[in-house]
Symmetry: C2
Subunit: 395 residues, 2 copies
């Protein structure tokens, strides 16, 4: 072979890798290890190439708490693996621990972030996971939107907005669900971890829910956006995400800034009867506050995995909250509301706080619907709650 031909062959070989990767990382493209490996019978094998490691463990969201870990077995080829036969179809997260170092699965390109931690992700297809699967029909649109918040003295804050299927093809006006995340989360949480758009697509296409717009805000009034969207912004620190709950500034910005912006930009049905609000954990606390302080704004409330704590904690003034409850709950009853829905897992650490809340509401003869699921303070439950709550709205 002439040297020019050899050079050309070499060029083309390098080129093949480069074109495939479309970037400088081409040399890592070839990856013989498949993980997770979903078999036809529904079992899943997790693998990690780690020839020199002494120990490889896996922790998965299907285990009992993130402290649980199961050892992988080392094969002669340096590939560690473990097969699970009893996983039900669902959305799962997991990570490895290699000789004491936590790592995502380097063989799985799907990585998600929850607060400050990263996890590998997979969806095991089946009936139980149908609400997070892609619908064959035309699905809704997600927007990433900047809006001004005079209440928070910010020229621009970021939120995500879900427009239902056929929004652009119709000239209808739509009701709006305001969907709030938990402490440490941000405006990306409900789409990235909660699959809110996928769930709405599915319950709307099935006819279980009315078409609606969903507004996903950033509930931390000290942030303009998810921290990595705004380079130079620091991650949420422990101290940051607590006190903002107490200030109630976010709740005011939602009513004064977000709702008018949404109702002026999109084709929205206005008025209390066309607005719902729900949130998990910190967002459940904010939902309670919105119900009490703005009884004329929303007609549907969903308080997920959050009740009333018994003393001042987390920077939130519980006594003040209870007084507000006493003062304002009659205002809400008088103004009227269609649904006050409370949902909590029986293993949730806030379970007792939810009992507190129910006692207070019962003392006021306040109508609510209580939904108790199994499980704890998890996205599994919040995805379930959203898929149950959305169909009850605007009917």
């Amino acid at each position: 072979m002439k040297s020019k031909q050899i050079l050309k062959k070499a060029f083309l070989l390098v080129g093949l890798f480069g074109l495939l990767s479309g970037s400088a990382v081409s040399q890592f493209q070839q990856n013989p290890v498949v993980s997770p490996d979903i078999h036809e019978n529904g079992s899943v094998t997790f693998r990690l190439m780690a020839p020199t490691a002494d120990s490889v463990k896996i922790s998965g969201s299907w285990m009992q708490g993130w402290g649980a870990a199961i050892q992988l077995e080392k094969g002669e080829d340096g590939i560690w693996e473990r097969t699970f036969n009893d996983l039900t179809p669902d959305y799962y997260n997991y990570f490895y621990n290699v000789d004491g170092v936590r790592t995502v699965d380097p063989h799985n390109p799907w990585v998600i972030r929850d607060v400050r931690n990263t996890f590998s992700a997979l969806i095991l297809p089946g009936e139980e996971s149908k609400n997070v699967q892609l619908n064959d029909q035309r699905n809704g649109t997600i927007q990433e939107v900047w809006y001004p918040s005079p209440t928070l003295n910010m020229d621009q804050r970021r939120m995500k907005i879900y427009l239902p299927p056929n929004y652009y093809e119709s000239d209808e006006n739509y009701p709006v669900l305001y969907l709030l995340h938990g402490g440490g989360g941000d405006e990306n949480a409900w789409t990235e971890l909660g699959f809110a758009n996928r769930i709405l697509d599915n319950v709307i296409h099935s006819g279980d829910a009315k078409p609606m717009i969903v507004v996903m805000t950033n509930g931390n009034p000290n942030q303009t956006s998810a921290w990595h969207v705004a380079p130079g912004h620091e991650p949420v620190r422990e101290s940051d995400s607590v006190n903002p709950m107490a200030t109630e500034l976010f709740e005011e910005s939602l009513v004064n800034d977000v709702i008018p912006f949404v109702e002026s930009r999109y084709r929205v049905k206005t008025g209390k009867e066309n607005r719902a609000v729900t949130g998990l954990s910190m967002g459940g606390w904010q939902t309670q506050k919105l119900a009490l302080k703005h009884p004329d704004v929303f007609n549907y409330f969903g308080v997920m995995s959050m009740g009333i704590i018994e003393e001042t904690q987390f920077g939130m003034n519980a006594q003040n909250h209870l007084e507000l409850t006493s003062q304002n709950i009659d205002d809400l009853k008088e103004s009227g509301y269609e649904l006050y829905w409370i949902a909590c897992g029986s293993d949730d650490f806030v379970f007792e706080s939810v009992n507190n809340m129910k006692r207070v509401l019962d003392n006021h003869n306040f109508d609510y619907v209580y939904r108790e699921s199994g499980g704890g303070h998890t996205w599994d439950n919040w995805r379930l709650y959203l898929s149950e709550f959305a169909p009850m709205l605007f009917q």
Copy 2:
């Protein structure tokens, strides 16, 4: 302390963690290791807690290729670290190698995906990185949109659309840039790796570029969307992302499906003079094909990091491409075009193929502008090219 009080304290303590995380991963919330640690003088320290590891290395996009790796030093506390003093302000990716296992930085929650690999990310603020930083002014909107593609026989495919600042506040019509990714990429590549929306926000706000809509499609005609958006879809396999380049089906779907959809849904200036197309690597090949086969559709072309290969390879028929060039290049000259821009890095492995292309074009006395940068087949270059190309459009 009474046992009830002790129980309550325990509940509140657990609760504090849970509220902060908003999820079941609360026990991992507390993380004493800061990495990357950006110091006031601009140096950066990378750390990893790995008390039992024998070796920890870091590979960064500032090094010479991803094969390069630098050892971290182990401290007595089991934390490995390395400080870099000479990094210019820029956007960087990196990963660790712990005893032979590749891992993202578990202390850094910002993880990005490039093709099938994950990287930790940081932005070092400064003049050189200003185009990827958040602008203080009101910025544009990103949409994630499903659209029908009869050409590809798909009821829904996914794309991302950037609407310029003030799109919603004005009633103007806008010109459109169609922005194509490389092999192995998808409709998320230009926003997640290329910061296309951030770059457009900045060059529009500075007045360097006209306000325009940017359409980011999925250039793999065998995919409905980025694979993890559609659960159950397999990752792009090596063989998948090559042949689609040869079919030219994507190019036909862009002209027949995407452009009509965009021009019917958004406030768009129509006609050739209001359309531009650019792409990198595989997308640069597709841009050439669009120029040759559809000379009446676009007025501006940007061919980034891709030329003409000398023989049939990557599943693409080079001979056919050259014949097309000879046949159709006069059609394009006759139809007229404002700009044919070619950009490539001097270290790019496709550099010689770009010389081939220039020779062919020169033989046809075809007008083009050539921009040669340093560096290789990297997102650093493609971000640079976009920030230079966008200001030349629609002026």
